[in-house]
């Protein structure tokens, strides 16, 4: 499944359908909600920071981890300034967010942290043409 994201409504459509896809792939209710949150966070980042982009969720399979879902989020926006900061809770890609900057931001600097916690693999790459996150959530979680 692939979604073109431009605004809030697209984020909600993508996460709702991704949740249903997770259910249909054999993920439990709780696991599907976790996948839904991961998709939501990646989709929000695209709409908030790049304006538009694309998100794809597809079933994958591995001999060790069984079935899984791969989430690919790509956009043509500017690359992350520093991935380590971006993954850190309470930070954007440049560093810690001050508490007062949170008001009206529609976020708390925890989106990628949530993606990392709710998925088992997360990779990021940036090219001059844009950036891309690939996250995988397995039914038999590795750790």
């Amino acid at each position: 499944m692939i979604w073109r994201l431009r605004d809030e409504a697209d984020v909600y459509a993508a996460r709702r359908e991704a949740r249903a896809l997770a259910r249909s792939q054999g993920f439990g209710s709780r696991e599907s909600a976790e996948i839904c949150i991961a998709v939501s966070e990646l989709a929000w980042n695209i709409v908030k920071f790049a304006g538009r982009g694309e998100l794809e969720v597809r079933p994958v399979e591995s001999p060790t981890h069984g079935r899984g879902l791969e989430i690919v989020a790509s956009d043509a926006g500017p690359p992350l300034h520093d991935l380590r900061f971006a993954l850190e809770d309470g930070c954007d890609d440049r560093g810690p967010l001050s508490p007062e900057s949170l008001f009206g931001r529609r976020g708390i600097g925890g989106g990628l942290g949530a993606v990392r916690r709710f998925t088992d693999e997360l990779s990021y790459d940036a090219t001059p043409a844009g950036k891309r996150f690939v996250a995988v959530r397995w039914q038999r979680r590795p750790r």
Partner: protein, 216 residues
């Protein structure tokens, strides 16, 4: 005399006038004025008669088309405005802050909570606490199955912020999974008051308020 030396075709004065009329109308049309028309008083046998009628018909249909597309555009703009309004309404509905009792606000949290929604909720609740001058708020998360640690942390902070604003904050409807998430984060839960259900919290609070004789 034309360039190749053959004699120029003779055009009478009337024909010149007619051509000038056509050119004026076409230039007006080109400039966007579609209300102009050529005179309709030519005799039927006049050599320019058919041309005049054809030009008028063309301008007429252009004008119709333009009006139609303007109406369509207005309709489209109306629809876009409606969508914007509905979107705002949905956002508001997703963070409903209700006054369930005199001075008691309730924030029922349902659906899937990501960081964007948790931050919208905090703001809506804190604004409402101040604007409505409330004494107590109840955050009910019965409808939440999963919460990321960062989001749970944010909710605990929201409860503390409510206390800073001078109101009590009760958390209700925490499910076992989220309870585990919260204790594993190791946050300080001092001053966080929880109840099993929204009903318990309301009974408890309203009971206390009655005892104080402050609220009915």
């Amino acid at each position: 005399m034309s360039r190749d030396g053959s004699p120029a075709p003779v055009i009478d004065e009337d024909a010149f006038d007619r051509i000038a009329q056509i050119l004026i109308v076409l230039s007006d049309v080109g400039g966007g004025d579609l209300s102009v028309r050529l005179p309709r008083d030519l005799p039927e046998a006049h050599p320019f008669g058919a041309l005049f009628v054809a030009v008028n018909e063309m301008v007429e249909s252009l004008q119709l088309e333009k009006e139609r597309s303007a109406a369509y555009q207005r309709e489209l703009e109306d629809k876009l405005a409606t969508i914007d309004k509905q979107r705002a309404a949905i956002r508001e509905l997703s963070t409903p802050v209700m006054e369930v009792w005199d001075g008691v606000l309730c924030l029922p949290v349902v659906g899937v909570i990501d960081t964007a929604r948790s931050s919208e909720m905090t703001e809506a609740l804190l604004r409402a606490v101040v604007a409505k001058n409330v004494a107590c708020t109840i955050i009910d998360i019965t409808g939440i199955e999963v919460m990321d640690t960062r989001t749970a942390d944010h909710f605990i902070r929201m409860a503390k912020a409510v206390r800073l604003l001078g109101a009590r904050c009760l958390l209700t409807g925490i499910n076992p999974g989220i309870a585990q998430t919260i204790v594993h984060m190791g946050v300080d839960l001092a001053g966080i008051e929880t109840h099993r259900t929204l009903r318990d919290a309301l009974q408890h609070y309203v009971g206390i308020a009655d005892d104080d004789g402050k609220r009915a």
